[in-house]
Symmetry: D2
Subunit: 385 residues, 4 copies
Amino acid sequence: MTELNVALLGYKFMGKAHSNAYRQVGRFFPGKYQVRMKVICGRDAKAAAVAARQFGWEEVETDWRKVVRRKDIDVVDVSTPGNLHHAMAIAAASNGKHIICEKPLGNSLAEAKEMLQAVEKAGVKHMLMHNYRKIPAVAFARKLMQAGRLGRIYHYHGAYLQDWILDPKFPLVWRLDKKVAGSGALGDIGSHAADLAQFLNGDIESVTAQMTTFIKERPLPDTVEGAWGARGKKGKGRVTVDDDTNFLARFKNGSVGVFESSRFCGGRRNFNTFQIYGSKGSLAFNLERMNELELYEGADPPGEQGYKTINVTETVHPYAGAWWPPGHIIGYEHTFVHAIHDFLVALEKDRLPEPNFYDGVKIQAVLDAVERSARAGKWEQVKNQ
Amino acid sequence: MTELNVALLGYKFMGKAHSNAYRQVGRFFPGKYQVRMKVICGRDAKAAAVAARQFGWEEVETDWRKVVRRKDIDVVDVSTPGNLHHAMAIAAASNGKHIICEKPLGNSLAEAKEMLQAVEKAGVKHMLMHNYRKIPAVAFARKLMQAGRLGRIYHYHGAYLQDWILDPKFPLVWRLDKKVAGSGALGDIGSHAADLAQFLNGDIESVTAQMTTFIKERPLPDTVEGAWGARGKKGKGRVTVDDDTNFLARFKNGSVGVFESSRFCGGRRNFNTFQIYGSKGSLAFNLERMNELELYEGADPPGEQGYKTINVTETVHPYAGAWWPPGHIIGYEHTFVHAIHDFLVALEKDRLPEPNFYDGVKIQAVLDAVERSARAGKWEQVKNQ
Amino acid sequence: MTELNVALLGYKFMGKAHSNAYRQVGRFFPGKYQVRMKVICGRDAKAAAVAARQFGWEEVETDWRKVVRRKDIDVVDVSTPGNLHHAMAIAAASNGKHIICEKPLGNSLAEAKEMLQAVEKAGVKHMLMHNYRKIPAVAFARKLMQAGRLGRIYHYHGAYLQDWILDPKFPLVWRLDKKVAGSGALGDIGSHAADLAQFLNGDIESVTAQMTTFIKERPLPDTVEGAWGARGKKGKGRVTVDDDTNFLARFKNGSVGVFESSRFCGGRRNFNTFQIYGSKGSLAFNLERMNELELYEGADPPGEQGYKTINVTETVHPYAGAWWPPGHIIGYEHTFVHAIHDFLVALEKDRLPEPNFYDGVKIQAVLDAVERSARAGKWEQVKNQ
Amino acid sequence: MTELNVALLGYKFMGKAHSNAYRQVGRFFPGKYQVRMKVICGRDAKAAAVAARQFGWEEVETDWRKVVRRKDIDVVDVSTPGNLHHAMAIAAASNGKHIICEKPLGNSLAEAKEMLQAVEKAGVKHMLMHNYRKIPAVAFARKLMQAGRLGRIYHYHGAYLQDWILDPKFPLVWRLDKKVAGSGALGDIGSHAADLAQFLNGDIESVTAQMTTFIKERPLPDTVEGAWGARGKKGKGRVTVDDDTNFLARFKNGSVGVFESSRFCGGRRNFNTFQIYGSKGSLAFNLERMNELELYEGADPPGEQGYKTINVTETVHPYAGAWWPPGHIIGYEHTFVHAIHDFLVALEKDRLPEPNFYDGVKIQAVLDAVERSARAGKWEQVKNQ
């Protein structure tokens, strides 16, 4: 067993989820590499220390530039808001660290491309944390599609809907600030929808989009509160990101795509869904019931066709066998454990983990085309080359 | 009780559904007017005679021009393919007949406007048969919205998906011929989605769209077969309509719309769905479970929020009380009975039934903008004035 | 085409449903026999006259004994409360009439047996109106089971739950009076559950049961109100039937049964459900979604097993092809149309319709054993011979 | 922070689940006590050593009698098959250890009572691991019921259905051997259904039951395989436990109960469900969708009543706030983390954790009455005093 020293930059929601993954991965997916949770880094020394103790990190740092230069660190995990990804990942790469980066890769297509160049140049391993690929039901959906079980794909619908800022009194947290977050619903959740689409159905070639901000001003937060990380001072401020972004797409394989992302859909707490329609079959998925996959097969006998609800918790399903017997469901944080497991296996086999910065550029290229289209009012090509 | 003599033009799928409605309406919704099923009209005398006997019509005609001139006819019901609506409705109007017209009103916006002018000029009553408005759950959804229960609307999703031409060997029936049908998925089912959207959420102002034909050629049908009305000769022919049409929309009230219509979605037999998200609540509906409506209310206490599945079969629900006790569901054809009931009540109260040719022009204006947008690759305004 | 003169005894809920079936059957299931709705009979001449006009009957009678003796009547339909079935059916049989009888056959096993003897002796056709057998999904379930698709049956669960008397202020209608209704939840809805069980899984051999009356007294109704037929005077009266009856059963084929029937299950408007588990597969059904059947097959590949939701509206499904294209659902009253259709076909082919009085005795024998078991506190044999 | 030394007896399925709980509890529910995973104990030294390393235990032992006598152990966790619970728990108690015991408490009511006497006499804390009480949705259901939200309870249905031994070739594992497991479906899963029922609806007073063994003989297992723990030699052996047990019940509060437990229900992987019907509302739960609770309220306005699906992942819900933001679901193993958290809090506050051996006796008394009833063929009283 080889120890692998990890440094985690960021300690909020994603920091908590990544920490759990590092702790748990060896317990359920033993392999060559044993993660050592070396150091966690945050600007607020006190809060970082609390996180370190709570999440199980050996040391605390407040200067990320120092961390990425440390000789004893093998892997740098970038789990900060999007505006810091670019600098952190490039610095980590130039110091020869393997990198795990939260999505979105950068806050712009240009940033993402530079980050990719940096890791290519440095020859390090890189992973983009699009954790929803690692859901057994999603990974199984891909297996079915790659085996041709759906035939030629005609129609893809991806919708990621939430409702956590539906209340106009919800404060102006960093995720509503374009300078920090890059974009709103689009980058935060639309990026997940786009990634799943490209993971399952291949590249998107062109899009037409609309981006909308329903609530233009919000109260400035005056306290750190809740899981979503509000902080700040009193008064009101301008929302500079989209509340709701939808787009139509054309895929390389000739199929059509319809995408919705919104934080204004009441009752949709974490409604990341897709339906995929092909010449031979269909699939449907909903993150709120993430242990289930619905499969329709046109080859079923007449009168016996219909959507089958598969409980994706069997040993034959991706990842599922490592956990509990069939029918015993897993939850949100398990997706990160799977991702870290995949990362470790990639290191062990000396190959690139998936998804990686190449995928990050592809997703960013879609988001970029969506933003251009929303401004121009017409179809735009995705520039992912 | 006053007798009302009806003539029905067309005797296929819609003819069967309308005939049932005329027979049943007085049994469950007794009123001033008693429908007399006077004459059914079809070009094929023998087939029309079979239909007359089967559906309960007194007489058979083969020449519709003669029918619309008959003195003893009060109401002309146009249930033929779309390319005949324009001529039939205008002729009926000019003969002073009240008109019930199957959707789409015409095969183009221009046709629809001329038809509207004709009925306005003639001063007759006119109804457009958008039967899905008459589903208790849909009519109840509208009541809730009009009472402000959803607050300000942010996001509307309408999808009408079917799969009946998914098989490339399915023949080139009239619904796949632009000259007869006007358009494909768009006019046939997208029009229903657009109508429900405007019924529930008000006028659509602009759209951006994509229209796709996946299977370009299909076998020419050589027999009359099935409910969908295939007929013709051997060989192959070109599909001249869209298989799949999607569009984004902007509503007059500031909300955004996302629309899907496709006949290529395996396992979706008659999947006419909407989800509506407002500041105070949300609604969700699926035609395949048409007796149910899902309601979410943001004002529910924290921890007790969620979608409630209402079985819309109570006496307090629109139309439902006329049928059976709560929990005893109704089906597809009941929507036509409700529509005819509404038509008779409008006649009795001397007001215009709903939806009518004004709505028909509005829907056609949306379809027109969708087609223009799909050609131009950019947003187009809906010209419904 | 041969005319068949029908007389209907009763004009309330079941009268309305049966009348609709007689009107509609020839429209969707044309056959040799054409029903003529000759006479409807009710003690209240005025109410019966209203029903006649509303439902489409030619004549009105108030004395059922006169009706069953009329020479011009071919079929007598007994749709009155249960306490009248015995006398009416026996009189009709002795006058050589074919009989359609609402369930339950009689108000006791002894009555049911005498009724069977009477029709056997008279040599007339007899049908028991257990309409839920005639749901396409249920008839299809039986086809699958008879084809051995579920293998050896292990476990059967049938629950028919409603909530219409949950309110203690709901009045003491005839269905809560043992003298008229025979029993409460057991005879009214438990009988449906038992009938479906024996239809699908064969005879029940023994049972252990509990019968409970939660609300012992209710207000006497002072008006005719609602679909459930309240009528009477002021004050309070004793509920003499069961509110809730459950039983365990052993089937002849070795499988076990668990049955629930209750009118006290809030939110279950008409929740008639079954789940059937066999060595090869499982089935699940819910009347509130009566167009759907869920099928599980153990032979599906590992990782692809699950319940498939079949929309039972295809032409290959029983009855469904006569109505509308796939995906266009039907409702409650269609089950009666199917039943009358089956009755007419049986007449045409000179065979006994199903279910008939033999089935009626079998169901009554189960109810009888349930009542004996509830009294004795131990298992009881079903005496259906 | 105070260290608490735990010894775990058993290292299979439950050992894995409990180990995870000890590792995770402090990460998500920090408190006074910090668990130290001191020693794991199993008869097979090698397998136990693997488990220790995998699950994170400091030491390995093969003699449980030695473990329970160790001075440095504060808590003994009994996670072995049921036949060992009695001896282990009594020995642990007599050595003054706090005890966490997997369900069922003992393999008979007599054993359970002796175990309770032992812990009472020793004055130690004791917990019974009925983990499903600790699901947020279940704990929330109880809160609603205790607040009177359902009113007077009328009808309770609990069904725990699985299908893992449906295949007659599935081997004769220890869970099918009465000497080791005590009983089959009844003790393994029926006990969960009974515990949830008593947790939510109070004591059961009497029952009538049937217990069935469908497959009387099975192959003797010749290898350790799968999560369910098969091991042994070649040939065939007799199944000595029930495959399927159902019972009717009468609760102390006057409500009726219907219970199903079976391992022969194809497609039900882990279908632990309840529906509870009261005068004011209803609840429904299904373990396969354990993050959801369905709530019906009779006080909702007419026409707006229905089952509401609550995603029980909000901070106001029991346990949920410690994990992830609303809508991010948790899984099976989290229930054990919650249980251990409750245990630690009880220690901290010096009160008895719940459920405990008193509950264990109560459950065992129900199982005992069920077995007696199944033998006697009549109703039996529950002897839980």
